[in-house]
């Protein structure tokens, strides 16, 4: 056989394969790729725990869909958008990944949104907070935002505190897209409820020492110091705010994004009384408790909302693949939008047209050391915030693709 013939044959074969993939499972595997923070400021709330959670979802599906194995790839984005982008490109081009699960870090999250929509692969983000993912940077045909977003955090914590009469705010903000978006959303929520924003200071990400930012916030005389940061930044700023007598000085602290692992690291002595908004708490109900104890057996800690969200999004994605009989991104995403999302993680969930998974959020308060019955028993849930109240409506959003 000549070389030309061989090339032709190979070409024909690959053409056939492509044609087949439009219907069934491409390359005879469902490949999920996870790009997350495995080593940095967010790795405790995301990282290995997220991988364990997704493995649980895959096992729940029996490790295969219609006889086609489910494969999992994982990688560390090191909180750098370029590293995340390169991974996604490589996986799309060479590994034939069908879906990418994005972890914490909004900068990386937005970069992944662009690449996955360009490459036509499904993308579900759980860790990034920025509401831009379903607003200015939305990609409703391929990209979903699952666990929580900056709007929901602002509508939970900021609104609750303003309603308590804490009307003047000063923000200490992580200086990148996440912190800026969170501050923007929280400022809107504060002002919409009759409060005012006195100022803000942008702290580089990540920062160890927040003392000078705290001093500036104290000098502002605001009633509330809003922390628009996450992970180790939150831990350090909350601890140091206590050290510098913020609460004794008559000001309140609002940690706009607080994860279970943060409370664990800060300790209840310092964290007690903080108001927070969360998409999931392991002790929220029987189903969550049952799944969380399975997770704990496996991973050695209770899941954060990001880790539980990873499980939920992977599980529902796989169910949608099964239901649709294909791993074609747009078909599966359309399928997800048809399904009610109800599992160990989500209450009253549904995937909205713009890609946002709207579900109930919880307004919670950190327990006092006396109230807590042990490690991980950290929150009192004050109120369930129905999904439509927690998240911004499509009409108020800026996702042009679905606003028509």
């Amino acid at each position: 056989m000549t070389r030309t013939k061989a090339t032709l044959l190979a070409g024909a074969a690959s053409l056939l394969a492509t044609a087949a993939s439009a219907q069934g499972i491409s390359n005879d595997t469902v490949k999920i790729g996870m790009i997350l923070d495995m080593s940095g400021a967010y790795s405790a709330l995301d990282g290995e725990g997220s991988i364990a959670a997704v493995r649980m979802a895959i096992e729940e599906m029996g490790g295969e869909i219609d006889g086609k194995p489910i494969e999992l790839l994982t990688a560390d984005h090191q909180n750098k958008a370029d590293i995340g982008s390169n991974l996604a490109r490589q996986w799309a081009d060479q590994e034939n990944v069908d879906m990418i699960l994005g972890g914490a870090n909004s900068g990386v999250g937005i970069a992944l949104q662009d690449i996955t929509s360009e490459k036509g692969i499904a993308y579900i983000n759980n860790g990034a907070a920025t509401a831009a993912l379903t607003n200015e940077n939305c990609a409703p045909e391929t990209g979903l935002h699952w666990t929580y977003d900056t709007d929901a955090l602002a509508n939970g914590t900021a609104v609750a505190m303003v309603k308590e009469g804490k009307k003047s705010w000063y923000f200490i903000t992580a200086d990148y897209t996440f912190g800026q978006k969170l501050q923007e959303n929280a400022s809107e929520a504060v002002k919409a409820n009759g409060g005012e924003v006195l100022g803000s200071v942008a702290a580089p990400f990540p920062t160890q020492d927040f003392s000078s930012f705290i001093l500036q916030a104290q000098a502002s005389g605001a009633q509330v110091i809003g922390l628009a940061n996450a992970g180790t930044d939150t831990q350090n700023s909350v601890k140091q705010a206590q050290e510098f007598g913020v609460v004794q000085g008559g000001q309140s602290l609002a940690s706009l994004l607080l994860f279970l692992t943060d409370v664990d690291a800060i300790g209840l002595d310092v964290a007690q009384g903080l108001t927070l908004t969360t998409g999931f708490y392991w002790d929220q109900d029987e189903e969550a408790r049952a799944w969380s104890s399975k997770f704990e057996e496996r991973f050695g800690a209770k899941p954060t909302m990001v880790q539980a969200g990873m499980y939920s999004s992977a599980l529902n994605y796989l169910k949608a693949v099964q239901e649709a009989g294909t791993d074609d991104a747009k078909t599966v995403v359309a399928q997800l939008k048809e399904m009610p999302i109800e599992d160990a993680f989500a209450r009253n969930g549904r995937v909205r047209e713009d890609g946002l998974m709207v579900h109930d959020m919880f307004l919670a308060e950190v327990k006092t050391p006396d109230e807590s019955e042990g490690r991980w028993d950290y929150y009192n849930i004050i109120r369930t915030i129905p999904g439509d109240e927690a998240f911004r409506s499509i009409e108020d959003g800026t996702c042009e693709a679905v606003k028509g």
Partner: protein, 295 residues
């Protein structure tokens, strides 16, 4: 209220004090580095990791043995210092005659190893270490609330830096150490055990890092990454002060803390890079550093 460049004076004073306190950490850490470099010619990339280990030893002393802060402040540097001596004796000495690059690579690898080890066991979320009861609370200075603990950090660092400087520059032991750098053979001829001197010096430099680690433990979360967060900055400070200059390391540590504090008021976004900007400028204007002797 008096304003200075648009910032109320009390706020500015608060920021300067905070800068000085952060400078205290830089000073103790860069002092150890400068000591090791100046006397041993080793670029000790493991310094940040050993600072982290110092904090963890304090945490473990409390968590496992119930030994409190004050003893940890003494014990942790001793334990980590001994560990440092083992490193020097069995890892660094065999490559002492090779190019400096080997020592740098070895200590860098060591840093990764230590960090990875602690990350494996403790994760990155970090552990909490409470401020000792006797140092709780704070003083209202009028222009700011100064936590007692931060005041203690400042005082302890100044004392340790001054004592180290005195030891190296003013005592007979210090003179012997410096002489051993200049001409090891001659000093050996006077009956001084030079290899032992080198081992002890390295141990002492490392103990300083551990001391800073214990000081830092109650303020920052004790986590495996705390060393790599600070070490690059500290290297920059040593370069600014003049490689190997004890006095330079101490003074530029405090100075740059102040400088960073001011940046946090006037242009906070740049506060993480200001030290490197200063380093670049110093290298252009005075390549040997502020206090270094031109080679």
């Amino acid at each position: 209220m008096m304003d200075l460049l648009g910032i109320p004076l009390p706020v500015l004073m608060g920021q300067l004090l905070i800068g000085l306190i952060n400078g205290a950490f830089y000073a103790v850490l860069s002092l150890g580095l400068a000591l090791i470099f100046g006397l041993l010619n080793i670029v000790n990339f493991a310094h940040g990791a050993l600072y982290m280990v110092g904090a963890f030893v304090a945490f473990l002393l409390l968590d496992v043995l119930g030994i409190g802060y004050w003893w940890a402040l003494l014990l942790s540097p001793v334990i980590v210092g001994l560990f440092g001596m083992v490193i020097e004796r069995f890892l660094l000495r065999p490559i002492a005659d090779l190019d400096h690059l080997y020592g740098l690579l070895l200590t860098f690898g060591l840093a990764l190893l230590l960090e990875g080890l602690f990350r494996q066991v403790y994760g990155v979320a970090g552990e909490t270490y409470a401020i000792p009861d006797s140092l709780q609370g704070g003083y209202n200075l009028g222009f700011m609330f100064l936590p007692t603990y931060r005041a203690w950090v400042l005082a302890a660092s100044i004392v340790v830096c001054a004592a180290t400087w005195y030891l190296i520059e003013m005592t007979r032991l210090g003179a012997t150490m410096r002489a051993a750098v200049e001409n090891a053979d001659l000093v050996r001829a006077f009956g001084v055990n030079v290899p032992l001197l080198v081992t002890v010096t390295y141990g002492f430099g490392v103990a300083l890092a551990a001391f800073a680690g214990v000081l830092a433990a109650p303020i920052y979360s004790v986590n495996p990454l705390m060393g790599s967060n600070i070490i690059i900055v500290v290297f920059a400070i040593v370069v600014i002060g003049g490689l190997g200059s004890i006095k330079g390391a101490i003074i530029s540590g405090f100075l740059l803390g102040l400088f960073e504090g001011l940046t946090r008021v006037f242009y906070p976004e740049a506060s993480n890079i200001i030290i490197f900007v200063v380093m670049a400028i110093v290298l252009i204007v005075r390549p040997a550093g502020l206090f270094g002797k031109a080679a």
